[in-house]
């Protein structure tokens, strides 16, 4: 990839309002994501992390506000433009959301063949590489999602999200429910893929280890808006009770001590 253009904003959210009935989840929320960074989104349960992700990728229409991705206003985009935009993003859902009637390989091939006139042979070769890059053994490629463990399903979901070599990758709790070793492997994979493919990653997570190992910046969602955003060590010093509990609570300290900070502070090279 060309040298990372750090200051280019690839996702811009402005004045976002999301309401469910009388309950307001987001009020005048603003957020921007820069090209090539891994942005972690944290927040308590019910703070609207997943709703934010769903709004940005266009699965939910917000009550008010603007969302633009890669310079295109995704809420007002014409159909063709919206499809073209979707081709440039990859989404990995919490439990993979794999098509249960297709094997892992077919899941990956599906999006490829839907958008590009690839030959069967080329599509299989490409999908196999994606499956392996996502950290799955090839033997798993011909299995159905119901035959996979939770960790493998997540990797299969990642493989499918990467199918079209997206510029933007959205991950919803990628390491939730994984054992620490598998989760650490996933973190490493994420950083490698980001560096190799020049991805911009929007990462919703609860996992402090993942935050420390992978994220360039972290945004904290609380009180219906982005409370603060910045590199992790700055965030951890932010004087807000929830943030202090989150990063300096019993589980926060353990993760901070055991991790290597050099990764988390790299901001372009």
């Amino acid at each position: 990839m060309s040298p990372r253009q750090e200051q280019t904003v690839v996702i811009r959210v402005e004045g976002l309002v999301n309401r469910f009935g009388t309950q307001t989840v987001h009020e005048d929320l603003a957020l921007s994501v820069r090209r090539g960074e891994i942005l972690g989104i944290v927040g308590g349960s019910g703070s609207g992390k997943s709703v934010l992700l769903r709004t940005i990728v266009g699965l939910r229409r917000p009550n008010a506000g603007r969302v633009s991705m890669l310079g295109i206003d995704s809420l007002d985009a014409a159909d063709e433009q919206a499809v073209a935009l979707r081709r440039r993003i990859g989404v990995m859902f919490q439990d993979g959301a794999l098509f249960s009637s297709l094997t892992v390989l077919e899941n990956v091939i599906f999006a490829l063949k839907e958008h590009f006139p690839l030959s069967e042979e080329a599509a299989v070769a490409l999908a196999q590489v994606k499956v392996v890059m996502a950290g799955l053994p090839l033997a798993a490629a011909h299995k159905y999602p119901s035959e996979l463990s939770g960790g493998m399903r997540k990797r299969a979901g990642l493989a499918r999200a990467l199918a079209l070599d997206p510029e933007l990758l959205f991950l919803d709790e990628p390491t939730a429910g994984l054992d620490p070793i598998t989760a650490a492997g996933f973190d490493e994979l994420l950083v490698t893929l980001r560096d190799a493919m020049g991805l911009t990653v929007f990462l919703v997570t609860h996992d402090l280890d993942t935050l420390y190992r992978t994220c360039d910046r972290v945004a904290v969602l609380a009180e219906r808006r982005v409370l603060t955003i910045g590199p992790l060590d700055e965030i951890a010093r932010f004087p807000h009770p929830w943030i202090q509990d989150y990063f300096n609570g019993p589980r926060g300290r353990a993760a901070g001590l055991s991790s290597d900070h050099s990764d988390s502070t790299q901001q372009g090279s």
Binding site: M1, S100, S101, L126, V129, K130, M133, L164, M197
Partner: protein, 380 residues
């Protein structure tokens, strides 16, 4: 820089060989899925023949392009990408490393069989599965019966609420559809009979045609088939959804027998309600016949009733009625067992629901045929 001796151009990508160093290739421009022609061009070159690729002027690249490029390299060169790929920055080098590593993953032995062997393999698999399913059904029947007997011993364990709930859902709620359907079929049978029997001047036998068929066969068979589609499938879907959500396992860990709490209320509800609905079906079928007879022929309702009373033995009613609990047992046991067989996905629920309806309708008709032979031998 030497002048290229060959040059192939597409919209964005150019591939050229440097003079004097035939094994060094130079690739310029975009090489990604949006530029599929360039990738296909690479696939057309001799694969695995090159020692070095000059990628200094490569612009866009994605995994598909990287695969195409790496396939050109000799296997030995793929091991040392630093030396084989020239002019790449660190990030791209890392990307190619990652793709090369993924490509090196050994492909597991695929089990390709000849077509005729696949056919036999599937046939064998199907046979074994069918036998296993049969055994499973028998063992489940045994389990249900033994649980039922245990329940009779200690009736206090009966789940009354659940029982009545299912009686409402499978019985009361099915009254309109069963009633309407059998009324219409009764009318159709009468009309059909009238058309044929008219030729013999024996229109009055329409009464026997309707009453015999509805009392002996149609009443119970139509009801059973309707309930297999309506309630048997519901049983499978309900239990299957619980199975998928690990609720069945939760029950087991609490020391609660899932058969007792889930199967018996459904079974008993259906065994009570199917005979009731069968009675309804018989009556409405006969009424439908009477209506059709009075509308299309000169058989008044009173003449119809008198004829019915004089010519139809009460035994026929019991012949139909006695089959109802048996069919109820089949439908609920098959429906519940298919529910327990659900594994994992929602797709599995759908598959087993289909299988439940098909199996119970098949078994109902099969047992109906057995009953017919049995009653024929008895001379009833």
């Amino acid at each position: 820089m030497a002048t290229p001796d060959t040059q192939t151009a597409s919209d964005h990508a150019r591939i050229q060989t440097r003079v004097g160093q035939a094994s060094v290739y130079r690739v310029c421009g975009d090489l990604n899925l949006s530029n599929l022609a360039a990738i296909e061009q690479l696939h057309g070159l001799a694969q695995g023949q090159f020692e070095q690729l000059d990628l200094a002027e490569l612009r866009g690249i994605d995994t598909a392009g990287a695969i195409a490029l790496l396939s050109l390299l000799k296997p030995a060169a793929r091991e040392h990408l630093d030396a084989a790929l020239l002019g790449l920055d660190q990030q791209r080098q890392a990307f190619f490393q990652a793709v090369a590593k993924a490509m090196a993953e050994p492909c597991p032995e695929s089990q390709w069989l000849a077509h005729w062997r696949v056919l036999f393999e599937r046939l064998g698999r199907w046979t074994v599965t069918a036998a296993q399913q049969g055994l499973l059904l028998l063992s489940f029947v045994g389990q249900v019966v033994s649980t039922l007997l245990r329940l009779l011993w200690r009736p206090s364990r009966m789940r009354w609420t659940s029982w009545f709930h299912h009686m409402e859902a499978t019985g009361l709620d099915a009254v309109p559809i069963v009633g309407l359907l059998t009324f219409l079929v009764g009318a159709v049978v009468a009309f059909l009979g009238a058309t044929i029997l008219q030729g013999f001047g024996a229109q009055i036998f329409t009464v026997e045609l309707v009453s015999f068929s509805f009392l002996r066969e149609f009443g119970v068979l139509l009801t059973a088939i309707l309930l297999a589609g309506r309630s048997g499938s519901a049983f499978t879907a309900q239990i299957g959804a619980m199975k998928g959500n690990e609720e069945i396992d939760a029950l087991k860990t609490m020391g609660v027998d899932p058969v007792e709490i889930l199967v018996l209320p459904r079974l008993l509800a259906l065994m009570v309600m199917l005979p009731v609905l069968t009675f309804l079906a018989m009556m409405l079928g006969i009424i439908g016949g009477a209506v059709a007879a009075s509308l299309t022929m000169d058989i008044s309702s009173s003449a119809y009733l008198v004829r019915l009373y004089e010519r139809t033995p009460i035994n026929y009613f019991w012949v139909g009625m006695v089959k109802a609990p048996v069919f109820a047992f089949i439908i609920s046991v098959v429906g519940c067992l298919e529910g327990f067989k659900v594994s994992g996905s929602a797709e599995s629920v759908g598959r087993h629901t289909t299988s439940s309806v098909v199996q119970s309708i098949f078994l109902v008709i099969f047992f109906d045929a057995l009953f017919a032979i049995f009653f024929m031998e008895l001379g009833i």
